[in-house]
Symmetry: C2
Subunit: 119 residues, 2 copies
């Protein structure tokens, strides 16, 4: 992983700040997300571990980032995905371990297969 959670958030926020200097200050974003500025500051500098799943999702929404990806950078998985797996743990466990070392395009092909119903 090239970026830690915090440094990525900071980079993204500062990027957005370039085209909208007033809204995307640390204080602006923290207000929007519903956090204390000092807390977000510590998160962005990786002083503090990443926040909770819910907070990460709100943060993703405000920054226009993908929730699953941000959660992954925090080492977490969305509860709705967790439920999918927990409902059929052996089945999906097997599938995921099988796909672990497959290249992206192979997995993607599978996704399309299922979606387009080619079976």
């Amino acid at each position: 992983m090239r970026h830690s959670f915090g440094s990525y958030i900071r980079e993204r926020r500062e990027h957005l700040q370039k085209s909208n200097p007033r809204a995307f200050t640390l204080r602006g974003v923290s207000r929007e997300v519903g956090l204390e500025p000092s807390y977000l500051s510590k998160i962005e500098r990786d002083t503090q571990p990443p926040p909770s799943e819910e907070t990460i999702k709100r943060l993703a929404a405000v920054l226009g980032e993908d929730g699953d990806m941000l959660l992954a950078m925090a080492g977490k998985i969305s509860t709705d995905l967790k439920e999918v797996i927990c409902r059929r743990p052996q089945l999906f466990g097997q599938l995921l371990r099988e796909l672990k070392n497959q290249p992206d395009h192979a997995v993607l092909r599978l996704v399309r297969e299922v979606r387009d119903g080619e079976w």
Copy 2:
């Protein structure tokens, strides 16, 4: 889910106890797993929430159960699977949400496809 985590553990342990009365007492298993008997007792009666991932895995080994399944009953996912997903969160997120409502046999077919390299 027909069973809670605790009641399932208890049932499985008592089943094994039938063919091996000395080894599969609550105290015997708790010693094997490395827990206090009172703690395991509370877990089996769902007084206490399920234990940690590591403990669940040791418990699964002692009881001859599938780790992923026991973890799932506790609402958890093995860290190795978590890592697989966190490495490519969007890809696997998409796949899992696509497969969420597919029947078992369809998913199983996918598993076999990948394993047998039919592509």
